[in-house]
């Protein structure tokens, strides 16, 4: 069983290595990272993730059991990071080893959707107001017409 809620950085390569150490025909790993989304407050520069740790681990473990039962998963990785994550850092890794690719893809998709829906983890955006160019002061007509800048 590999479920984890931790403030330590996540590496998809480590999840892949863990899954590759098991016997299985098909492995699917998903890695989700902080995007520099634009919001009303500006551009996201970081996300603060928090979890209610005990119930979060219990629900991750329950998801793993469901993946084993429903998709025949032989090994499951469910890792979520908490704390302040900057743009580009990995927030979540979901990985699964199954007999065949159809189940592995279905299980991977199931696990990330369920994780987002039922595991007590929250994010708060930290945004930076995007600087917009100030309106230019009006210029004498002669100058704006006269200067022949290409492009």
């Amino acid at each position: 069983m590999s479920v984890r809620v931790s403030s330590r950085p996540l590496r998809g390569a480590a999840a892949m290595e863990e899954l590759e150490s098991r016997d299985s025909g098909a492995i699917v790993v998903f890695s989700g990272r902080v995007r520099p989304d634009r919001t009303a407050a500006g551009r996201v520069v970081a996300l603060d993730y928090e979890a209610h740790r005990g119930p979060a681990l219990a629900r991750l473990a329950a998801l793993e059991r469901t993946a084993r039962r429903r998709y025949g998963a032989r090994h499951v990785v469910l890792w979520h990071r908490v704390g302040r994550l900057r743009v580009g850092e990995t927030a979540v890794i979901v990985g699964v080893a199954c007999g065949h690719r159809a189940e592995a893809f279905a299980a991977g998709r199931f696990l990330i959707e369920e994780l987002k829906a039922v595991v007590p983890i929250w994010k708060t955006e930290r945004a930076r107001r995007v600087r917009r160019p100030r309106p230019r002061p009006s210029r004498p007509a002669a100058r704006s017409a006269g200067s022949g800048r290409a492009r």
Partner: protein, 93 residues
């Protein structure tokens, strides 16, 4: 002196507030005095909604965890010493 009454701790429930619920209240937890026989969760939430109007809409969309276990219904009770966590809608991943 002379009294047979022993000091007993005031009976409280600790309410844990996560994410938007914490922001609405301005602190990560609240201690609420409850009767020694406990109180129904929905009654407690009603009190919290009155005391913290910003919290009210969140409470309607939240899930509740009592002592680490999800509550199936807000008709359950909390008793002194219990911990009730308020879980606004999740947003992991």
């Amino acid at each position: 002196m002379g009294s047979k009454l022993v000091a007993r701790p005031t009976p409280r429930v600790r309410v844990l507030l996560f994410a938007a619920a914490r922001a609405a209240v301005g602190q990560p937890s609240l201690d609420r005095v409850v009767p020694r026989s406990g109180v129904r969760v929905d009654a407690l939430l009603q009190q919290l909604s009155s005391d913290y109007p910003k919290l009210a809409p969140l409470l309607r969309s939240s899930r509740y965890v009592r002592n680490g276990r999800y509550l199936a219904s807000s008709r359950g009770r909390v008793r002194p010493g219990d911990e009730l966590a308020v879980h606004p809608p999740y947003g992991g991943g």
